[in-house]
């Protein structure tokens, strides 16, 4: 295990290109953490969902707002924090996308995928910051 960084923080504008660049930057480190290919797939998906949500739903692509992304790693886990400058939301208000009546809704699956692929997902009380962790043993 020889990741390039133990910790970095970036602040990006609210555009998708910048979002993809930071996901790639994180995955360069994550790729060297010894995860299985399934877990690498899941972490990429979860980080992408978190960053895209911050840009799209949090900051609503506003050029006046930024997204702060923090990556850290220790011996037991990786941790990604994503914070936007939007109004926040209540994750419990998002309808269950796997319920029969919601199956054909085109949105609302990002949260489910983050929960499924990460060990831990926590939103701040305001709902504009999410913390994702993937533990090496899980």
């Amino acid at each position: 295990m020889n990741p390039k960084h133990n910790h970095f923080e970036v602040v990006i504008p609210s555009d998708y290109e910048s979002g993809q660049a930071v996901v790639e930057q994180i995955m360069l480190d994550v790729a060297e953490c010894g995860f299985s290919s399934r877990d690498l797939f899941g972490v990429r998906l979860a980080v992408d969902e978190a960053v895209t949500n911050a840009i799209k739903h949090g900051n609503r692509l506003s050029p006046d707002k930024t997204v702060r992304v923090l990556f850290s790693r220790n011996q037991s886990r990786i941790r990604i924090e994503v914070e936007d400058q939007g109004a926040g939301f209540h994750p419990e208000d998002v309808p269950d996308p796997t319920a029969d009546e919601n199956l054909d809704r085109p949105s609302g699956r990002g949260l489910l995928l983050m929960r499924e692929f990460m060990t831990l997902i926590e939103y701040s009380p305001k709902g504009n910051q999410v913390v994702l962790e993937k533990h090496f043993s899980s």
Partner: protein, 118 residues
């Protein structure tokens, strides 16, 4: 956008249109919106009735891409077209299972099975 890159490779096998995704990653929104536009055009503009979406090169797709596929499926049903998905890699198929979208899409393991008996 006039200069939008093609995101689908189209091929006809009999009366079935096979649309193969070109990109490995269907993740970023600009890409997804273009994929959506090109998918919807198969039904809205070309009036194709039997469509197979071939995922053989796709390694990643996000929930926003799933949203486009759901809209595509609804359009197909509304236009009395048939839509099938095939050649989905195991990691991505797991996403379909987690979201239970394997229940609403007609998914076949191989292109041959997808084209057969439409």
């Amino acid at each position: 956008m006039a200069d939008a890159k093609p995101r689908l490779d189209l091929d006809d096998i009999g009366d079935v249109t096979v649309a193969t995704f070109i990109d490995k990653k269907i993740l970023d929104e600009a890409n997804i919106n273009e994929v959506g536009k090109q998918l919807f055009a198969l039904i809205d503009e070309d009036g194709r009735r039997k469509i197979v979406l071939d995922f053989s090169v796709v390694e990643y797709l996000s929930s926003a891409a799933l949203g486009k596929l759901i809209t595509m499926d609804k359009k197909a049903k509304g236009a009395k077209s048939k839509l099938r998905l095939c050649c989905i890699k195991p990691d991505i198929y797991e996403v379909f299972e987690i979201t239970r979208l394997n229940k609403i899409f007609d998914i076949k393991p191989t292109l041959e099975e997808a084209v057969k008996g439409f």
